[in-house]
């Protein structure tokens, strides 16, 4: 278990250096906040809500006007007259939520009877009903200064496509942010070599695989925390996760491991800390751009698209977007996962070969 001893040492080195650790974990947070505020912003805007007025009475019209006056809501105009119209919009992603005012609404209000309202929503944003319900309840209770006993039924709908930019952006940003591991892992290896510590370890009976795993092991918690930050802050900023959150996590975890493999190779071939920490960004940023972090690869020339498809980053972003936005399951993203796992294994194998060569030059 020599790799475990090397890993333990690197874990302590990493976590006892507050500046380095702060940078490593602060970067994901900074990325996600800057880009989400720049391109997202749904969380701070009013909720767009459709209203179906089946009652078609003066009282129901007044209630709609009351809803329209609430800053937290943006009532879609015109008001739907039938539930089927709103339902169609909900299913195609045109609407995320609508409120059904049923027949007999005005009668119930006049007789101070309980009123049944329905909030129908799709699963693009699971937090939406929680945001809308208190607002509608407050509006109904204050309506005409007559307390209305209100039953709000929540009804969830399936949708096929959700195409908000924040949903496109977050997976791309997460992959981009995880690529910081390339320079972080590489930087530690190069720093240890420059300080002679790696040479000391190389004079012990440790094998190349001990070094590879020993230097990557401590970054696993960093990957997990980074992904949690990306997805957590992403959700707060308006990311809607239709599919399985765990599966999205897994995809990002694998690309994180893949980046660590690249970092080990970088650390093995780089000759200075500058080479390991600064220079790689010249390649990383263009790679992220051509891999579709900010705009779809379909818009790019076929040669660039071919390069992007050969590399793992596009596959990670695609798989993550499929899970997050389209609700794809494990089998749906399997081709991308094969690609990612293949790259990861190949990179670690290459890392071991290169490291073995570097141990006795």
């Amino acid at each position: 278990m020599r790799f475990w001893e090397i890993g333990k040492r690197n874990l302590k080195e990493l976590y006892r250096d507050p500046v380095g650790l702060g940078f490593l974990l602060g970067m994901p947070l900074a990325f996600i906040l800057i880009f989400s505020f720049a391109f997202g912003g749904q969380a701070t805007s009013p909720v767009s809500i459709g209203v179906v007025d089946e009652d078609q009475s003066q009282i129901s019209a007044a209630f709609v006007s009351c809803l329209e006056s609430i800053p937290a809501l943006e009532v879609v105009s015109p008001v739907y007259k039938s539930q089927s119209e709103a339902e169609e919009e909900l299913n195609t992603g045109g609407l995320s939520i609508y409120l059904l005012i049923p027949h007999g609404f005005s009668e119930a209000v006049e007789h101070h009877q309980a009123v049944d309202l329905t909030l129908a929503y799709n699963q693009v944003d699971p937090m939406l009903p929680q945001r809308v319900m208190p607002v509608v309840s407050a509006a109904a209770l204050g309506f005409l200064n007559i307390p209305v006993p209100l039953n709000i039924e929540l009804s969830q709908r399936e949708v096929e496509i959700k195409d908000e930019y924040i949903n496109y952006l977050i997976p791309g940003m997460a992959v981009f942010g995880l690529m910081i591991l390339i320079t972080s892992v590489g930087g530690i290896v190069v720093r240890d070599r420059a300080r002679g510590f790696l040479s000391r370890l190389m004079t012990t009976p440790a094998r190349p695989s001990d070094f590879i795993f020993g230097y990557t092991l401590p970054f696993i918690p960093v990957i997990i925390i980074s992904i949690a930050i990306y997805l957590g802050v992403g959700i707060l900023m308006g990311l809607s996760i239709i599919g399985n959150l765990g599966l999205a996590f897994l995809v990002l975890f694998i690309i994180g491991i893949c980046c660590m493999g690249m970092g080990m190779i970088l650390g093995t071939v780089a000759r200075s800390e500058e080479q390991a920490s600064g220079a790689p960004w010249i390649f990383i940023v263009p790679l992220v751009m051509i891999s579709g972090a900010w705009w779809p690869v379909e818009q790019m020339p076929s040669v660039i698209k071919g390069i992007a498809e050969a590399l793992p980053f596009l596959h990670a972003m695609d798989a993550c977007r499929d899970v997050v936005t389209r609700g794809a399951g494990f089998t749906g993203i399997l081709p991308d996962l094969y690609w990612l796992i293949g790259w990861t294994i190949a990179l670690f194998a290459l890392g071991i070969v290169l490291f073995r060569r570097s141990m006795a030059r």
């Binding site: 001893e5 333990k8 040492r9 302590k12 080195e13 002679g196 040479s199 000391r200 012990t204 001990d210």
Partner: protein, 306 residues
């Protein structure tokens, strides 16, 4: 069996021959120094013997194991303190020692016992639980040497163990190394003459990748230095007197206000008579002991610069 033996060991870096066909034999229990200026090939030699570099030609054996064919066996036998301090800055001394010990397969109990012994010997016990980034250069060097010894190797490689230390810390480190002499075979590289002189059983002088002389410090001085040197503190030494001295003796130089005069046939009485008769006043005169620096200058025609 020799602890270390090299056979025409050679290493080239492109057109540069860093180590040029060197043959060394180091007996078990010997402290052997490779003495030479920076860039002479000392570290390259040690790196080949520690299996960090492959020789371009020739080979070497460590306790009978070949450096090319059996590096893993050699790495179980040796302990190395590299030229850089090479310690983990955010770990404490106990943790640094445990890391190397456990990589060598020692149990936790063994590591603890041995670490305690070494920290005591190296004078680091009191600061054992402090992170080593707070240590002085001397303390880091001592810890580095302790790390090389944690698994009780039979051969120790110490690459410039006192590089960058102040004279006091250097002297303390020498004393620690001297304590190890009888129990270990030690190969030490240095460019400090006094260090090689003070510590070594045998010295090989290396310059531009070649061994230019080898033997005990006493043998080297006796074999290569036939000249005698005197240091004289005198007043009224005119340019004419200096001219006269230079015509009589093979080397006359001024060092820190004193005259340093060397010659094979140097005679103290004759020299002082000459100075007196020409009006100079001699305040003190001392015969200078030859040093390995003198041997190095004699052999290579240049000084070792720190």
């Amino acid at each position: 069996m020799n602890a270390i033996q090299t056979f025409k060991l050679t290493r080239r870096f492109n057109s540069l021959v860093a180590v040029n066909s060197i043959d060394l034999k180091i007996e078990q229990g010997e402290l052997f120094s490779l003495l030479g200026p920076n860039g002479a090939g000392k570290t390259t030699t040690i790196n080949m013997l520690c299996c960090l570099l492959k020789p371009t030609e020739g080979t070497a054996q460590i306790m009978g194991y070949d450096i090319i064919k059996e590096p893993f066996k050699i790495k179980q036998t040796i302990g190395v303190s590299p030229q850089e301090t090479a310690i983990s800055e955010h770990l404490n001394s106990w943790e640094n020692l445990a890391l190397i010990g456990k990589i060598h397969g020692m149990s936790s109990d063994e590591v603890k016992r041995r670490s305690g012994e070494l920290l005591e010997v190296m004078g680091l016990m009191e600061r054992g639980k402090d992170r080593v980034r707070k240590f002085s250069g001397g303390m880091k060097r001592r810890l580095s040497i302790a790390m090389a010894m944690i698994h009780d190797p039979s051969i120790l490689f110490l690459d410039e163990p006192t590089l960058g230390l102040d004279p006091q810390a250097r002297r303390a480190t020498w004393e620690h190394i001297a304590q190890l002499k009888e129990r270990k075979t030690i190969l030490l590289t240095t460019h400090y003459m006094e260090e090689a002189d003070f510590l070594s059983d045998k010295v090989a002088i290396i310059d531009e990748g070649k061994i230019v002389a080898m033997g005990t410090p006493r043998q080297l001085k006796a074999n290569f230095l036939k000249t005698r040197t005197m240091l004289i503190l005198a007043e009224n030494v005119t340019p004419e007197i200096m001219q006269g001295l230079k015509s009589r003796y093979s080397q006359v130089i001024e060092v820190e206000g004193k005259l340093r005069i060397s010659d094979e046939n140097l005679d103290f009485r004759e020299l002082t008579n000459y100075l007196h008769s020409n009006g100079a006043v001699v305040h003190s005169a001392a015969l200078e002991e030859p040093t390995l620096e003198d041997v190095f200058i004699h052999l290579t025609g240049k000084e070792i610069r720190e």
